[in-house]
């Protein structure tokens, strides 16, 4: 079941599905390791403010707006 990234809870491990971000920003995320098929972990989601996700071994803060546009599947 594909959900928006903002709908996942802390501790969920997510496989990234499609992303509908603007091209340039999509690239920025890709460099950091967030792209279709990559696996991440939700570190913080307070239903308020940005999310913190773990990509590889680093914590990345991601704005809510962007996280709404990224879909994923729980592993």
């Amino acid at each position: 079941m594909k959900k928006r990234l903002v709908q996942f809870k802390k501790g969920d491990k997510v496989k990234i599905g499609c992303m509908e971000c603007r091209c340039n920003f999509g690239n920025r995320l890709t460099e950091l390791g967030l792209f279709e098929g990559s696996e991440i972990e939700i570190v913080k989601n307070d239903n308020f403010g940005p999310l913190v996700i773990k990509i590889f071994n680093s914590k990345i803060a991601l704005g809510r707006g962007e996280a709404t546009k990224i879909y994923g599947e729980k592993i």
Binding site: C21, R22, N24, F25, N27, R28, L29, T30, E31, L32, G33, F35, E36, G37, S38, K44, D46, F48, G49, P50, V52, I55, F56, N57, S58, K59, I60, A61, L62, G63, G65, E66
Partner: protein
């Protein structure tokens, strides 16, 4: 005489991998900071003598990739391709090999002479990560050296590898022409399997994570940040005040000694005496006493930055900044503005969107910079000695409130819709490297001292001239030129509670550099308490906080916006805001019976 460099090497790497630490350790004091030609990106260069060779080291901007969207990335590409360095050293954080190797691949793709310096292995092994360095080197086809930038180990080995750099045959099995990110990552994932041995055992939640939860908590995050700022000001005064007293006394002593000394030669006219003591020692000395405050301020800013806390500030402020149509990252230049507005305005380039940048640039002059602090210190010591820390904290709070309100206003009026994505790495907390922090303090302090020796010296002499002419009048009196100029402007400030001519002159000269306000008062009056009441003193500090930014800020705004329109607009609008705010405070205070 300048010796020719034998070699040029570049340092490159992701942000927060220990790049600055390595640069500082390698070059020590032999470095200088400037800008890349024609760019607003900082260029750090240093030199090192190693085995009879003089090596120039260029610290490239921290970046995640070489795709050349951002100015930093273009600069790094240009340096590698055009300056043809002997070697490009990529510092890699061993804890995050996969992400770091993405840049390595891109470097290899463009044909850079890469040497990998693997840093933070000790932290990685605490997490159960082991790296087969030999395998990594073989698979990538580049030299890989183990270093510890903080403990300064492995550096000689690294330098040897650089000096003996030879291109190794690449054993790449993937098509270099295919530049899709997911293919690079797929390649890295394959490579990692042969290189990385990760213990499966679950890493226990570290202190870092629990601390992070507290700092980024949705209720406590912002109050905690404010608390830290308040603590910073208390610390600044507790540490710096005693040192300031000592410096003040020594300048007074110097003044007396000079008078005594000059008295030995009766032929020397009185005005030289006055120029030296009132003009130069009074002016420049009056500014240099604030060195301890500036030093402590930058020391603390440096610690907050180097420890990784600043990124969390961006995180907690994101929700709030969204109301301005900005995101959390836009808050960071504003925080830097507490040091000096010039780097703050330059730091707005971390924002990708031009409109976002302009908005933050327009907000930034209201952020109370270090140069305004001496004025607050002077006034609060005289009028609010019991609550010095609190009064100054209130000014800083006001500074943020006004900056934010203006941001909201501009967003409504000038730019209708703003939206830029927010993404920022939250680096692991670590103990700040003392050397990095001290370097940071030193560069900013040196800038301040240079300013004291140039702009402030210049304005001190001008103030002295205006206060002395025409000859024969009492120094700094109403009959002097300064007095007459002040008298003309002063009525503008009368409704704000400081319609005296001395304030008018001080404010006029504050345009050169805000610190000059302090030295001007030093020249024009011996007792400020006769000119101000506590209420008008507060209104004056508010005016100082908000009125037009100094020359250096306007110059950098011109440089960043590439037009005179914005700096000129800035002068007008900040001064208007300052006048209105001071008016409300002074007249409001009088209505409440405070004046």
């Amino acid at each position: 005489m300048e010796k020719k460099y034998n070699n040029i090497i570049g340092l490159i790497g992701n942000p927060n991998v220990g790049k600055s630490t390595l640069f500082n350790v390698l070059t020590g004091a032999h470095q200088h900071v400037g800008n890349w030609p024609g760019k607003t990106v900082e260029k750090k260069e240093g030199t090192i003598d190693y085995k009879d060779k003089k090596i120039k080291i260029v610290d490239l901007p921290g970046l995640y990739s070489l795709n050349a969207y951002a100015e930093e990335e273009k600069i790094a590409c240009d340096f590698i391709l055009k300056d043809k360095p002997q070697a490009v050293v990529q510092i890699i954080d061993a804890q995050n090999l996969t992400r770091n190797l993405y840049l390595t691949l891109q470097l290899i793709e463009i044909g850079a002479p890469v040497v990998v310096a693997l840093n933070m292995l000790d932290l990685a092994s605490q997490q159960g990560i082991k790296i087969d360095i030999q395998a990594l080197s073989t698979l990538l086809g580049v030299s890989v050296v183990k270093i510890d930038a903080k403990k300064k180990t492995g550096l000689d080995n690294l330098l040897d590898k650089i000096l003996n750099y030879k291109k190794q045959p690449s054993k790449f099995t993937y098509d270099l022409k295919n530049k899709k990110a997911s293919i690079r990552y797929a390649f890295i994932n394959d490579l990692i399997k042969d290189v990385l041995i990760q213990d499966k055992k679950e890493i226990k939640k570290g202190l870092s994570d629990s601390f992070d939860n507290l700092v980024t908590n949705k209720y406590f995050g912002i109050p905690l940040f404010l608390l830290i700022i308040l603590a910073v000001f208390q610390i600044i005064f507790k540490i710096a005040q005693p040192i300031i007293n000592i410096i003040e006394l020594s300048f007074e002593f110097l003044g007396i000694k000079i008078i005594d000394f000059l008295a030995l030669w009766p032929a020397i006219p009185n005005w030289i005496n006055s120029l030296l003591v009132d003009g130069i020692i009074g002016g420049v000395g009056g500014i240099l006493v604030f060195i301890p405050i500036i030093a402590v301020l930058f020391f603390i800013l440096g610690i907050l930055e180097d420890s990784g806390y600043m990124a969390r500030v961006a995180f907690v402020m994101d929700k709030f900044m969204h109301k301005l149509g900005l995101h959390g990252k836009a808050f960071l230049p504003l925080v830097l503005g507490f040091g000096c507005n010039v780097p703050a305005i330059m730091a707005t380039r971390i924002l990708e969107d031009k409109k976002d940048r302009l908005l933050v640039i327009l907000m930034s002059p209201f952020i109370s910079c270090g140069a305004r602090l001496p004025i607050y210190v002077l006034f609060t010591a005289l009028f609010f000695s019991a609550y010095q820390g609190w009064i100054i904290f209130s000014l800083y709070l006001l500074s943020i409130i006004i900056a934010v309100s203006m941001g909201l206003l501009f967003k409504k009026v000038l730019f209708k819709k703003l939206s830029t994505p927010f993404v920022i790495e939250l680096p692991p907390y670590r103990w700040p490297a003392l050397k990095n922090v001290l370097m940071y303090v030193w560069f900013n302090l040196w800038f301040f001292i240079k300013k004291a020796g140039t702009i402030i010296l210049f304005f001190s002499v001008i103030v002295w001239l205006l206060a002395s002419f025409p000859f024969g009048v009492e120094y700094g009196s109403l009959e002097s030129l300064a007095g007459r100029i002040g008298q003309v402007i002063a009525p503008i400030f009368a409704p704000l509670g400081f319609g005296n001519w001395q304030s008018a002159v001080a404010l006029l000269f504050g345009f050169g550099a805000k610190e000059v306000v302090v030295s001007t008062f030093g020249a024009l009056t011996s007792d400020l308490t006769t000119l101000f009441t506590p209420l008008s003193a507060y209104a004056f500090m508010v005016f100082i906080l908000l009125y037009m930014p100094c020359l250096a800020v306007l110059a950098v705004v011109k440089q960043e916006t590439k037009s005179w329109r914005w700096p000129l607009f800035m002068v007008g609008y900040t001064t208007t805001v300052a006048w209105i705010a001071s008016f409300i405070i002074y007249q409001g205070g009088r209505l409440l019976g405070l004046g």
